[in-house]
Amino acid sequence: MRRIMKLALQKPELAGLLLLLVLVILFQLRSGGVFLTANNMRGILGLLPEAALVALGVTLLMICGEFDLSVGSVFALMPMTMAVLFVSGVPFWPAVFVGLALCAFIGFLNGWLTIKFDIPSFITTLGMMFMARSLTVVVSGGFPPRIRPGEVPSWLFTGFIDSSGFIRASVLWFAAIAVLMSVLLSRTNFGNWVRATGGFLPAAQAMGIPTARVKITCFMICSVLAGFAGMIQALRLNSFLPSMGMGMELQAVAAAVIGGTSLMGGVGSILGGLIGATIIRIMDNGMVMSQIDASWFQFAIGALTILAVVGNAWLRKRGRAMKVETDRK
């Protein structure tokens, strides 16, 4: 029993999970029971996949020991590119493909520049953040493209899949991608390489892991997920604006960190990223539901980020210090 406890205490996503529980209970009480109603859950679930997909990509990349500040801009660039192509006569699916391919290329560039010139990815992706944002405006030509509802199969991404209108298709997309990523990270050799590369680069290199390729792949996955998430949001709102996803890059980092991902690389999990993104989403919604002044939202996210990291460090220390009888021979 103590052994299970010890292992659990050392799990990096534990602090986030506890916070999530506390917040849910708190908001449920403060909002007079409205928070956990089906109607409100629908609101939370409808928006969650968009931010959470970005957070998952950022989490994977951070485990690999790198950063991506350009996800917010890519979040806007992908739907904009897709919509502009569509309006100019390219069929929907090829336009989506080109949009995602562009994201993959941006991810590749982020990774390649970072590794080739040995510069911090913070800098590379900071530059890319501005460039991609600017490209979004350039591509739109200043006038956001208009797509009439029904012209594109947006139901495939944002339509309600049940008759009562509770779950959107985006939730399924998100769930499938999250499971896939989680499996990739914990059950495949690629996941092992990602963790080793982020955990201790010299050892990974000495053991013959193609660390450059591993990192570039993670950059690409991160960018493609951000672009895909942007497309879901644009299709849900049926509006393609160059200002989409502003500030999203730092919220994604906050989500990853709240979920137990280390800035140093190596430590973290996809589940943690999901928990972090859910917490941010719940804060946003729960504060409104409990009639707290929404101006405090950013403050709350900031405080939570710090609290989660401090809590995590404390829990892990307690876990490590916990004495367990060992069957050492």
Partner: protein, 243 residues
């Protein structure tokens, strides 16, 4: 009688304008433990980095079993059976023992284009056995390497090299930062390699460690080999005089 497993001939290496290796030639005898000593900057690490595939020589050749070989990267070296245990640990502290043992060489249940499903059970079972084989007893293959002592980590690194049936094991200052007891354990490991027919290259600053477990001592200074004698024909004093 000589039966070299690796022969190094006239090896040269420049590092950003510095002539780090100045024509090093060396025969490494099969099944022996060779002690490589020398001051910082003598060229030991350069030589080792070339043999383990981290760097390429600018000139000269390397032969294994009499045939010329090129070692372009660590993977090549491991493929040839040359395994290196580095001073700064070749382990990832935040990963489990089982995962560390198989980094880069994970057993897979199935795979597509090199990416596949880890055989976690096999990794755990084989790592328990591999560690027991080097006479090390650890709690569980799921323990994080970061929780082990320095000596235990070197033990796991050696277990990994043994598990992958390496023919030549390079130990780059494995006794640094270890307690006396743990140092003795590592020296015991090196001795036991000989019994298992594994060739060892043992790099150390400490002459006593080298003389305690090696068959031959090679001293380097300023990028050249300055002494190459069987342990029985030399002494700590002679080596120290030359250096």
């Amino acid at each position: 009688m000589t039966d070299p497993i690796i022969q190094v001939k006239n090896l040269h290496k420049w590092y950003s304008g510095v002539h780090a290796l100045k024509g090093v030639s060396l025969d490494i005898q099969r099944g022996q433990a060779l002690g490589l000593v020398g001051d910082n900057g003598a060229g030991k690490s350069t030589l080792i980095n070339i043999l383990s595939g981290l760097h390429q020589p600018d000139q000269g050749e390397i032969l294994m079993d009499g045939r010329p070989i090129t070692i372009r990267n660590p993977k090549d070296a491991m493929g040839l059976g040359i395994e290196t245990i580095y001073q700064y640990n070749s382990m990832v502290p935040i990963m489990s023992i089982a995962r560390n043992l198989f980094i880069g060489r994970e057993p897979l249940k199935f795979s597509v284009a090199g990416i596949g499903w880890l055989d976690l059970n096999r990794m755990r079972e084989e790592s328990v056995k591999a560690i027991a084989d080097v006479d090390l007893h650890l709690r569980s293959p799921d323990a994080l390497v970061g929780e082990l002592s320095g000596g235990q980590r070197q033990g796991v690194a050696i277990a990994r090299a043994m598990h992958f049936k390496s023919k030549v094991m390079i130990l780059d200052e494995p006794t640094n930062h270890l307690s006396v007891k743990e140092t003795n354990k590592v020296i015991g490991f090196v001795r036991s390699l000989r019994e298992q027919g594994v060739t060892a290259i043992f790099i150390s600053h400490n002459m006593h460690h080298v003389f305690a477990c090696c068959d031959r001592v090679v001293a380097m200074a300023l990028g050249q080999v300055v002494l190459d004698k069987p342990i029985g024909q030399t002494s700590i004093e002679e080596v120290q005089d030359i250096l």
